[in-house]
Amino acid sequence: MDAALDWLQKTALAVHIRDSLLLFPLLESTHVIGLAIVVGTVVIIDLRLLGLATTHRAFSRLGADTLPWTLGGFAVAAVTGALMFSTNATVYFHNTWFRAKVLMLVLAALNSIVFEFTARRTIGEWDLRRTTPRMARAAAAVSLVIWVGVIVAGRMIGFTATRATINQTTPAEEPNFEDLLGLPK
């Protein structure tokens, strides 16, 4: 695995991004835009399932309106995330917060699959109702917790992975003092 990571971070594209002044910040910003769209639309859906907002509208219409944007935002976040990962693959792969974030993304996917195969099956009964089945409310609550966790973990990657060189094979766990103390870079 370490060999694969090493190969990845030595590719021309990874090196180009890492050496560029502007590319990595642009990737980060685009990543934030992608995740803002994902979390923004997911929150809309979850609030509906919890009976807290848009309660007068059919869930299926809400889902149809938001799903393309959730998926599109996720694609943007995934691509920019992969590109950022490639610039320092070894460090990120061994970073605890990165692993936590990946785990939570997997849990988010599992959560929506469970929702699809349980509450979503009976959508005809509760589509227009304010109060949704317990499984739907549970899935919504779990979803909110997970996505907040993804945001936190993602931010913490930035604080715990230093701009290490590719020669570093041990994980860099020290906080990034430049960010933390607000020193100009």
Binding site: A36, I37, G40, V43, I44, D65, W69, G182, P184
Partner: protein
């Protein structure tokens, strides 16, 4: 501004945040990002309604009534967490080109959001019958989304202000 920022760094709220910086700044930033997501979702949904792509079974007034309060509430949240970040890391924020560009766009975006919501409330019928179909209004809907995306870019660039070269005070030490 630099002198003000340096003074701000000596105050006790700033000291508190700096002392607890292992959790304080990351927590404040995470809440800020959550607020960003909710603004983005709200603005996107309203703009998509203006473009006639979504929420077509709802009037513009209904869509705005649904997302307006969340948009406004999230803007307050962003202001509060933003203030905490400025207090906690004054030099990092106040002495950068990106921060002030961002604040300019935030002002523009907020004014547009408020004027728009007030107009839809007052001229509900005209909006649904005529205004929402006008080309310039649709362009404004797209423009608003782009403004908030630009704000996200500038927010991230605060940490990389040197990309602005000579325009950045961080470079012209």
């Amino acid at each position: 501004m630099r002198d003000f920022a340096l003074w701000l760094a000596t105050t006790s709220p700033s000291g508190f945040i700096q002392e607890h910086n292992t959790w304080a700044i990351p927590t404040i930033q995470s809440v800020h990002i959550l607020g960003i997501a909710m603004v983005m979702g709200s603005v996107l949904m309203i703009s998509l309604r203006i473009l006639g792509l979504t929420w077509t079974d709802q009037t513009l007034r209904q869509t705005t009534a649904r997302f307006g309060p969340w948009l406004n509430g999230s803007l307050w949240l962003l202001l509060a967490t933003g203030l905490l970040m400025v207090i906690g890391e004054p030099v990092r924020e106040l002495v950068t080109f990106s921060f002030w560009m961002k604040m300019t766009l935030v002002a523009i975006g907020t004014v547009v959001a408020l004027i728009f919501q007030r107009s839809v409330r007052r001229y509900e019928r005209q909006w649904d019958e005529r205004i929402v179909h006008r080309g310039p209004i649709k362009l404004m809907a797209v423009g608003t989304v782009l403004i908030w995306m630009a704000i996200i870019f500038l927010g991230r660039l605060i940490a990389y202000d040197h990309v602005w070269g000579n325009w950045s005070p961080a470079v012209n030490q």
